[in-house]
């Protein structure tokens, strides 16, 4: 299936969606750009610490509600710029959690339980302030009635934790991730840190995986302990080399400092950002066209070194 078809089939206006990766690493950028190109709006987006992917979806106007722990792109944008503007102007409704809470929420969804407990956030405004009001929750069957709730330890003094915060499960309509390797049946192998991609995949009704290399099932089966996701969790596998660009893909390429710095310049100005959307997304046919636009020299510069998995000595100013 092509990425165009996969997005058309599994990503719909108003859907609940999560994207994998972390700040400037392994964001499913090719899929993000395709969603923007297809003009899919009113998305309810979930992420833990997501940077570039979240910011571009928000910047393009695709997102109406966001549940998130952290919106930043490392040193390139300590707070994601279009995210910041959209929250300040009230263009999106945001609800804040911590990273562990978001991860546990995906895990609860993946485990098939309605909630999981943690000791994080007791006494804070993450507990006290709800981005989505009680009324909004009561009216929307797709939202839990409460953001978070505190319970006394039902096992008394066992475990030495008198109170626990319960975090509600997330089960999205669709999760998008970008991985290093997959086969056509849907088995997935990520390399390096997996972030919360596995929980995000296993809690979603549908999953689109883009990958650097589409390999034979037997190749992945030769070292099964290195695979994380079984085929029955995945609906579509699309071979998209460079699919995380301009974010990094460990052992394949680094983030592109040039692109991310340029993006920041565009993002800071509303008029310039319109130009960005036109020139870098709508005006391009597909992700390959973006890589072609970046050009061979730039891609060579960020190509990962075999020893380290990143581009050694890359100028990152």
């Amino acid at each position: 299936m092509s990425l165009k078809d996969a997005v058309r089939k599994y990503v719909a206006a108003g859907c609940h969606m999560s994207i994998g990766g972390f700040t400037v690493s392994r964001n499913p950028m090719a899929a993000v750009y395709e969603i923007i190109r297809q003009g899919i709006y009113n998305i309810h987006l979930y992420a833990h610490s997501n940077g570039q992917g979240v910011d571009e979806l928000i910047g393009a106007g695709c997102v109406s509600r966001l549940e998130i722990a952290y919106a930043g792109s490392g040193r390139f944008a300590p707070t994601c710029i279009r995210f910041k503007k959209a929250v300040q102007s009230g263009d999106i409704v945001v609800e804040d959690y911590s990273n562990y809470q978001m991860t546990l929420r995906f895990l609860a969804g993946a485990m098939g339980v309605p909630f999981l407990p943690t000791r994080s956030s007791l006494g804070t405004d993450i507990m006290a302030k709800w981005g989505f009001s009680a009324k909004m929750r009561a009216e929307d069957p797709r939202l839990p009635d409460q953001k978070l709730t505190v319970m006394d330890n039902p096992f008394g003094s066992w475990g030495d934790a008198p109170k626990l915060v319960l975090v509600p499960a997330i089960n999205c309509d669709v999760t998008l991730i970008h991985a290093q390797k997959a086969d056509r049946e849907g088995t997935v192998r990520m390399e390096g840190l997996v972030f919360s991609d596995i929980e995000q995949v296993k809690s979603a009704k549908h999953v689109i995986v883009t990958c650097e290399e589409l390999v034979e099932p037997d190749d992945l089966k030769a070292n099964p302990d290195q695979n994380q996701i079984p085929s029955f969790c995945v609906d579509a596998v699309v071979h998209v080399p460079g699919g995380a660009y301009p974010t990094a893909c460990y052992r394949y390429y680094d983030y592109d400092p040039g692109y991310l710095n340029e993006y920041r310049r565009y993002a800071e100005d509303d008029m310039l950002y319109k130009k960005y959307l036109e020139e870098f997304i709508h005006g391009l046919k597909d992700h390959q066209a973006l890589l072609d636009k970046a050009g061979k020299d730039r891609l060579d510069m960020i190509r990962a070194d075999q020893r380290t998995g990143y581009a050694v000595g890359l100028d990152r100013r």
């Binding site: 990766g21 972390f22 700040t23 400037v24 690493s25 392994r26 833990h48 610490s49 940077g51 998130i68 722990a69 952290y70 919106a71 930043g72 490392g74 040193r75 300590p78 707070t79 994601c80 995210f83 910041k84 929250v87 300040q88 804040d96 959690y97 911590s98 990273n99 562990y100 809470q101 991860t103 546990l104 943690t118 000791r119 994080s120 956030s121 007791l122 006494g123 804070t124 405004d125 993450i126 505190v150 475990g159 030495d160 934790a161 008198p162 109170k163 390096g192 840190l193 997996v194 972030f195 919360s196 596995i198 990094a248 460990y250 983030y255 380290t308 998995g309 990143y310 050694v312 990152r316």
Partner: protein
């Protein structure tokens, strides 16, 4: 007297000195990562640097610009995931050994932190990135060190939003809320170092940087702190500077 080091270098070294050999050091991006690297290379060789993304004992040949940077994945002992990294901090056996290095937009006298919004949460004047793992770290670990810019608008009477719990409202705050033991140990700024009183859990001045007076420090805070116990912070030694400059951040990506 002319300084042969920058304020940022002194801040990094001052924080690095707080890290004990054998600590498990949780760090975020920027200067906190650099302080952890400096400590490991100078005074705490057996400390283990770890990131919320799941990277443990990263070699850090180059400075990562984000905690998901591929540079944190190289030379590690374990590359894990978020669920595992936060469990390590919540874990009652490993958690107390973790020291978390934090940063924030606002801090109050009990070391509670705001990294979410300035102004009303529902119609913010300024929106920041949000908690990320900060609230989790502050909730769970044995002690935390916080980097701040020393400004009145950052050291405030009342936070606009409590993202990460410090001592909450005083000595019993954490216990009443149901949080684990542990909490803020120190604050490092561009002017001073601060600790928290054993009894009151209120912030007090422990050290002032060379050339800075306690009064200047108070003039840049929105609340009063005890300055009677403060001493001048020792400037970085030649060795500390050499390691920091040559080994930790030779490109000066963070030191500037």
């Amino acid at each position: 007297m002319k300084m042969d080091y920058t304020l940022k270098e002194l801040m990094t070294i001052a924080a690095a000195r707080e890290i004990r050999d054998g600590d498990i050091v949780f760090c975020g991006t920027g200067i906190s990562m650099l302080a952890a690297m400096a400590a490991k290379n100078i005074s705490a060789p057996n400390s283990v640097i770890f990131f919320e993304t799941g990277a443990i004992d990263s070699l850090l040949e180059e400075v990562p610009l984000a905690v998901s940077d591929s540079r944190v994945m190289f030379g590690t002992s374990v590359n894990g995931n978020l669920a595992d990294a936060f469990a390590t901090m919540q874990n009652r056996i490993t958690g107390p050994h973790v020291v978390g290095i934090m940063g924030a937009a606002q801090i109050d006298k009990y070391g509670n932190l705001n990294s979410t919004t300035i102004g009303d949460y529902f119609s913010p004047k300024v929106r920041f990135s949000g908690s990320g793992g900060a609230c989790d770290v502050a909730s769970f670990v044995g002690r935390t060190i916080t980097f701040m810019q020393h400004e009145k608008r950052k050291f405030v009477q009342k936070l606009d939003y409590i993202t990460s719990p410090g001592w909450l409202d005083g000595p019993d705050g954490r216990k009443k809320a149901g949080l684990p033991d542990g909490g803020p140990a120190s604050v490092v700024t561009n002017m001073a170092t601060m600790g928290f009183d054993e009894t009151t859990k209120e912030m007090f001045l422990t050290g002032f940087f060379p050339g800075i007076t306690p009064q200047q420090i108070l003039d840049n805070m929105g609340f009063e702190i005890d300055v009677s116990r403060a001493k001048e912070v020792a400037p970085p030694t030649a060795y500390e500077l050499q390691i920091l400059r040559e080994k930790c951040d030779p490109q000066r990506l963070i030191l500037g």
